[in-house]
Amino acid sequence: MPVNDQERSLRRRIVFKAMNGNATPAAIQTAIRTLDNEFGEVENLRFNQLIDRLRDRLDSAEANLSKVLGNIMTLRTKSADEIGPDPLRSQAAGAASKRTGSAAGLAATRREGLADVFGTLVESVVSSLRHRGDNSHQSFLDEWTKCSDVQALAGRVVGPLTDWAADPQPDAFRPVGTVDHFRILVHAMYLWLCEKFGPVDADRMLNQGVRAAEGLPAAVTNPPRQLL
C-alpha cells in the first residue's frame, strides 16, 4: 500500500533537517531521489536502512552522515511543524529555473528561496512566542505590522505580512521582497523583542530563527544571517 503525500513530505522534512544544512545541493538532490524512488512506496520505513542507502550514494564527508542517523532518530519524535518545511518546493523551483536557463528564472528562484528563509526565520520566532503561552505572539504580530519601518516597505511585502498576521499558519508566510526589505523587517522584529523581553531573549529567539532557516536547502544560496 503506497504511502500518502503527507507521509512522504514528512520523511523529506526529517531527512533534510537531519542533514542540518551542511549538505551541498547535489547531496540534497540525491537524498530526494533516494527517498522518492526507493522508499516512496515503503509503508514502514526503517530510517537506518535509508541511511545505509544514502551512505552508498553520497560522499560521507559531504553529507556529514555520521551525525545524520542520530539526528533522524531525534527528529522522528517531533511534530511536523517543529521539523521544518518540505525542501521539495525549493528544489522544484530550482529545477524549473535550470530548465529555462534564463537569468530571470534564476533570480525568481533566488527570491523564492530567500522568502523561504525569511519565512522560516519569522515563523520560528513566532513559534517561540507562542510557546510562552501569554498571547505575546499575537501582540507581536499586531505591533509588527503597525511598525513604521514595516509600513514604509513596498506593499508586496506588507500585504502577505498582514494576511499572515491575521492567521499565522506554518509555511504560509512567503512574501516577495529583497534582502534589504527582509533585513528591515527582521530588525523591526528584533527591536520589538528587545523592548518586550530584553536583549538576551531577543538574541536567543533570533538565533533560533536563524538556525531553523539554516536547515533549509534554500539557505545554501540564501544564508539567513544576511538578513540580520
Partner: protein, 403 residues
C-alpha cells in the same frame, strides 16, 4: 658602585617592574570586560582596551605628562616636559610608570560604555581623558605644587586620581549614550544582560589583582621597605572587599553572582589605593570590608536610575574610589579621625567629580554632535564586532555572519 648609585638603580628597576605589572592590568581589564559582554561585542571591547592604551600612551607622552608633572606655578597644571626627550633616566622611568596609570583611567571608561559606543569616537574621547582630563586633575594632587597637594590631600596611588576620575568619565559617557537596547522595560523593569564568558571575567579579576601590587607598590617610586606593607594592605583590602560583598549579599538576601563577587574584590582594591601606605593592616581590612558593602549598595542604586554601566565600573571605580579616598583621611595612621584632614579629602573628591564629570560630559556631548557617538540599532543587533571591526570573536558560531 656607590650605595647611592645602587639605590638609584634599584629604584629604577622597581619602578619599571611595577609599570610592567600595571601594564599587565590591561590584559585583566580586557578579559574582565570582554567576558562581561555578549559574544557579538567581545572583539570590540578588546579593541577598545588595546587601542586606548596605545593612543593614550602617545597622547600622554605628548601632552599629559607635561600637564601633570611639568612645572606648575599656578597650582592648576604643568607647563613643560611635553613630548619629553631629554631627562634623567630615573625621570624616564617615572614617565613610563605614569603612562601606564593614564591608560588605566581610560580603560575604566571603556567597559562602562560597552556594547553601544562606536569605536573611533570612543578613541577620541579616550585621548581627551588620557591627555587632558586625567593629567589636569593629577597635577592638582601629584604635582608637588598642585593646589590639592599643597592642602595635604592624601591619595597615595590614585583611588581618586585614577579610579574616581575614570568612574566619573564613565558616568558622563553612559548618560550621553543612554542604555543598551532593551536593558530597561517600558515599566522600568531592569533586564540582566549576562556576559558570554564568565571564567574569563574571573581570570581578568585575578590578573587585575596581581597588577594592583605594582599599581600600589610602585607608587612609592623607590625600592624601599614600605613596599611590603603596601602590598599586604592591598591584598588584605581586596580580600576583605570580597568578604564584605558576600556578607552584604547574604544579609540582604540577594544572589551571589560570581561577576559581582569579582567586582567586590576590585572594590576593596580601589578602596585601599589611596591609603595603602598610610594605614595599618587592620584599617586596610576595614576599608576593604566597607568597600565591598559600598559596591553592593552603589550597584543596587544605579540600576533603577537607568544608568546602564555594562561592567559596574561606576560603582567599583567611581564610588568606591570616593570611599577609599575618604578612608585614607579617616584612618590616617597615627592621626585618625582628624577633621581637618577629612575635610581636605572631601574637597579633593568633590573637586574630582566637579572637574571630571562636566568635562567628560561636554567631551562626549560634543563628539556626539559632530559624529554619531552611539552605534545604530541595526549595529547593536548585529554586534559591534562585525559592524565596527568586520571580525568575529567566535567564528565557530558566527562564521557566516552577515555574508
Amino acid at each position: 658602585m656607590s650605595p647611592e648609585t645602587l639605590q638609584s638603580n634599584l629604584d629604577t628597576m622597581w619602578i619599571v617592574v611595577a609599570a610592567a605589572l600595571v601594564f599587565f592590568m590591561q590584559a585583566g581589564f580586557a578579559m574582565l570586560e570582554s567576558g562581561m559582554v555578549r559574544s557579538k561585542n567581545s572583539i570590540n571591547v578588546i579593541m577598545k582596551n588595546y587601542t586606548d592604551m596605545c593612543f593614550g600612551a602617545v597622547v600622554f607622552w605628548l601632552a599629559g605628562y607635561g600637564l601633570m608633572f611639568g612645572v606648575n606655578k599656578s597650582g592648576w597644571f604643568g607647563t613643560d616636559s611635553f613630548a619629553m626627550r631629554f631627562a634623567e633616566n630615573s625621570e624616564f622611568a617615572i614617565l613610563f610608570f605614569q603612562m601606564m596609570f593614564a591608560a588605566t583611567a581610560a580603560t575604566i571608561v571603556s567597559g562602562a560604555l560597552a556594547e553601544r559606543i562606536r569605536f573611533v569616537p570612543y578613541l577620541f574621547a579616550a585621548m581627551i581623558i588620557t591627555g587632558f582630563i586625567y593629567p589636569v586633575y593629577g597635577s592638582w594632587v601629584w604635582n608637588e605644587n598642585g593646589w590639592l597637594a599643597q592642602r595635604g590631600f592624601v591619595d597615595f596611588a590614585g583611588s581618586t586620581v585614577v579610579h574616581s576620575i575614570g568612574g566619573w568619565c564613565a558616568l558622563a559617557g553612559v548618560m550621553v549614550l543612554g542604555p543598551r537596547l532593551g536593558k530597561y522595560g517600558s515599566d522600568g523593569e531592569v533586564r540582566e544582560i549576562g556576559g558570554h564568558n564568565l571564567p574569563l571575567v574571573a581570570f581578568g579579576g585575578l590578573i587585575l589583582w596581581l597588577g594592583w601590587f605594582g599599581f600600589n607598590g610602585g607608587s612609592t617610586l623607590e625600592a624601599n621597605s614600605s613596599i611590603g606593607k603596601i602590598c599586604l594592605n592591598t591584598h588584605l583590602a581586596g580580600a576583605a572587599g570580597v568578604v564584605g560583598f558576600v556578607l552584604t549579599r547574604v544579609i540582604l538576601g540577594g544572589k551571589l553572582l560570581m561577576t559581582q563577587t569579582v567586582n567586590g574584590g576590585l572594590a576593596g582594591l580601589v578602596g585601599i589605593t589611596a591609603g595603602c601606605s598610610t594605614m595599618d593592616p587592620m584599617m586596610a581590612v576595614v576599608v576593604g570590608l566597607i568597600a565591598g558593602c559600598v559596591c553592593v549598595v552603589a550597584m543596587t542604586l544605579t540600576e533603577p536610575m537607568q544608568i546602564d554601566d555594562a561592567v559596574g565600573a561606576i560603582a567599583v571605580h567611581g564610588i568606591c574610589g570616593v570611599w577609599g579616598t575618604l578612608a585614607a583621611g579617616i584612618f590616617y595612621e597615627g592621626d585618625m579621625f582628624n577633621m581637618a584632614r577629612i575635610e581636605t579629602q572631601v574637597i579633593g573628591v568633590s573637586a574630582a567629580f566637579l572637574w571630571a564629570f562636566p568635562t567628560a560630559y561636554l567631551t562626549f556631548k560634543t563628539i556626539s554632535v559632530i559624529v554619531d557617538l552611539r552605534c545604530s540599532s541595526m549595529d547593536e543587533q548585529r554586534g559591534l564586532d562585525y559592524s565596527e571591526h568586520h571580525e568575529v570573536g567566535y567564528p565557530e558560531f558566527q562564521a557566516q555572519l552577515h555574508q
